[in-house]
Symmetry: D2
Subunit: 252 residues, 4 copies
Amino acid sequence: MQVTHFQLDDYGPWTTEPEPRPEMDLQVLQSRLYADVADGVGARGGYAFYGRGDNVVAITCGLDAADHERLLETVANRYPVSASAGVGTGRTPAAALAEASERLQAAGSAQEAGRTRVLRGAFEDATEPFQVAHFDAVDATGRLTDRVDAATARSRLLRGFLALDEHLRERRGALCFFAGGDNAIAVCPPLERSAYEAATEAAEADAGVPFQVGVGAGTTAREAGGAAKRALERARRDGETVVAPDGLAESA
Amino acid sequence: MQVTHFQLDDYGPWTTEPEPRPEMDLQVLQSRLYADVADGVGARGGYAFYGRGDNVVAITCGLDAADHERLLETVANRYPVSASAGVGTGRTPAAALAEASERLQAAGSAQEAGRTRVLRGAFEDATEPFQVAHFDAVDATGRLTDRVDAATARSRLLRGFLALDEHLRERRGALCFFAGGDNAIAVCPPLERSAYEAATEAAEADAGVPFQVGVGAGTTAREAGGAAKRALERARRDGETVVAPDGLAESA
Amino acid sequence: MQVTHFQLDDYGPWTTEPEPRPEMDLQVLQSRLYADVADGVGARGGYAFYGRGDNVVAITCGLDAADHERLLETVANRYPVSASAGVGTGRTPAAALAEASERLQAAGSAQEAGRTRVLRGAFEDATEPFQVAHFDAVDATGRLTDRVDAATARSRLLRGFLALDEHLRERRGALCFFAGGDNAIAVCPPLERSAYEAATEAAEADAGVPFQVGVGAGTTAREAGGAAKRALERARRDGETVVAPDGLAESA
Amino acid sequence: MQVTHFQLDDYGPWTTEPEPRPEMDLQVLQSRLYADVADGVGARGGYAFYGRGDNVVAITCGLDAADHERLLETVANRYPVSASAGVGTGRTPAAALAEASERLQAAGSAQEAGRTRVLRGAFEDATEPFQVAHFDAVDATGRLTDRVDAATARSRLLRGFLALDEHLRERRGALCFFAGGDNAIAVCPPLERSAYEAATEAAEADAGVPFQVGVGAGTTAREAGGAAKRALERARRDGETVVAPDGLAESA
């Protein structure tokens, strides 16, 4: 499992010097820059999520050093700020991210003016099959979107997402991402069905609405994630809470 | 106070039909579409935040019906999906959003194929001065970004942000937005300094790191938000927790 | 009539230092930056066309100094390069552009490292009605797009466009823009129908395919351009070469 | 040599139905869509140029059918219009484009409602080395940009570019693209230095300003184009008209 931690270089100071820049300019910059990273990573089968905007975590199985260099070059050529990246590998996504973040931190602080477009990392040629779990809230439209105001709906879904994230990350070494709408996507080592059941329960406890999940397996995020989406469609159709491959690392 | 609830039309079904679309295509679409809304709203002094991606909340004081129509037309002309909007007014941002969401919901479900590019709302000619509070974590770089892995940092900051949001929304009628990095921006009715102190305490309790806040006032989000950013710079420089205007609605 | 000449600051050197940047990064940068200018100008009723990419000409009737400042600020906050602008007014679009370019040139060379985000210009409160003429090749799909290779089709259409441009600019003070496909858009002082007939003949002589044109009038590019598009639809439907308002400055 | 002709599906009718769409929305759409194609092609070493916006020609050596499918899927998932593509191979770029356009035309008219996201083509595993020639006008800044108005400068440079294009395409089988500023890029079969000298003379005759050119060789557009850029830097520094590799297909 290979994970990349992208981080804008010295971004905080840039946003306020010589005087604070208009917030909407910053939001547009962050959104577009993230979209370029998602596009570049996605074109090679990876997944990247917005995270904090100035720190973006990506599943990069299949992307080598040259792919990363090219992505950092592209960012530097299109935006007023550059990005650096740490890449790590590990048995679980969380372990790989820990290594990625450590490598990046060792290369210099996020607010160090001298750190520019640095790439630090280990790359693996091949990855063991892993799982992607695609969660959503059961009938989020009827229960939340069409019923309560937008801030309340978002707050409850974020609570559920945070519960999922902490549950799966701390106990299972997974990484969990909010994917917009009522969707959360977890990248996991091979897990038993019961692990996903427990995760949906944790999410429901905090969000106050039930969750369902489709699980897929593969050696790229796109492959496993596509299988997870199809599994989630089956869960929706059949009213099941978890649709997962029978074997641990089998494709759904 | 005028607030708009933008919502993609029948988006959930579109993402899965005829078969689930690649996740990175969806993430890129959502990020770019949000950036266009933020740009269009921001060009007239408003603020819009990503929210759930398919549901975007915006502070739209100063934008009339024609501005909204033009924005919805632009989205429809650039993307494979269209958006609708509900606009509400109220004494507090939360009250205005509640009205906005109700109007939008009354126009049809988020997953109703027949609802396309609908605008429903009341627009106010002028708004009373309101406040924007710009929060960030004290030394987030040293405490989190440079120290723990990216998922842990994000999780702790989101916990703090959710605490801020619930505290300020439920007790004060404010709307709170995660702005990336370690920043949260709350749009508030005129509040006493003690209200902001209490909010930073709520955030610290959940995030485990202290927060500081700069508060500004104005009749557009850009004006109040710019003053808030400058106040936050003073808070950072002087090590203060809250820098706010003395009078309730005075510009910092 | 008010025209703006936007120009990237010191762009040529940037593209080659410290070493030549990848061409596709430059093309993406130029296209996106142009799209932002077109969006910003268009949101206020103006027109902007790609031109040379690093030099963009816009019809900016209705945009004041603050609108221009905001646009230059936005570019500087989103891209690795900044832009300056000269604004001119005149009886004809060509005269207004001449003044705009002179003002910009007086502020410093396009390759002067010290010229950054400069705005120089005169702004007019109101404009006399002007015309927009929307040309296209008659049955370009059947004659060119579906019949010859893409390079040959483009070459012939560009020949026709250049003939239009020189004819209308030198004799009539109009500005002519290639709008993609087989479309050219001319912004003109009020002209007689015969002027447009002569222009289509000039284009046909060089392109080898006949052209047709719809003309509209208004005090913003969007208003006049919308009327021109509707007039062109009538020309297509009725097989007419020129559909123009009867009076000189009347809306079609 | 492998060349792709991308074409929007049934785009003309879409721009006018149910009524003509605002021109700036169309320009923004075309520019962004082109930028995505340039980015997707560029990430794999290819070159794509704007062309007519609704018809984009790309040098796609190294991109296979799956890469093309993915690109067409991405466009369809992000824009309100889809694109089709024809791919051709040949001894010269012009011959490859002729084949690409023929294949695309055989799949249906550009304005056929039933043709959606079609890919037709032959793909080659490896390509013979080819040349890229990067032209620019000698001191375009001093002669044109800083001296005449923006419309006159553009017109003269486009005249030069069209002369280059016709000269090199008709006599040598090259494809020539306007790259913005005062730059034109030709993708050529291996040519003698004298061919490039003759091309610069043709351009000067029509543009009224002298041109210079750097030539590079390689088996991808990025490789050959990067060498061409470095050769052009040498031409600028040394005041030479042509800097080209000594051998026909040798890297500069």
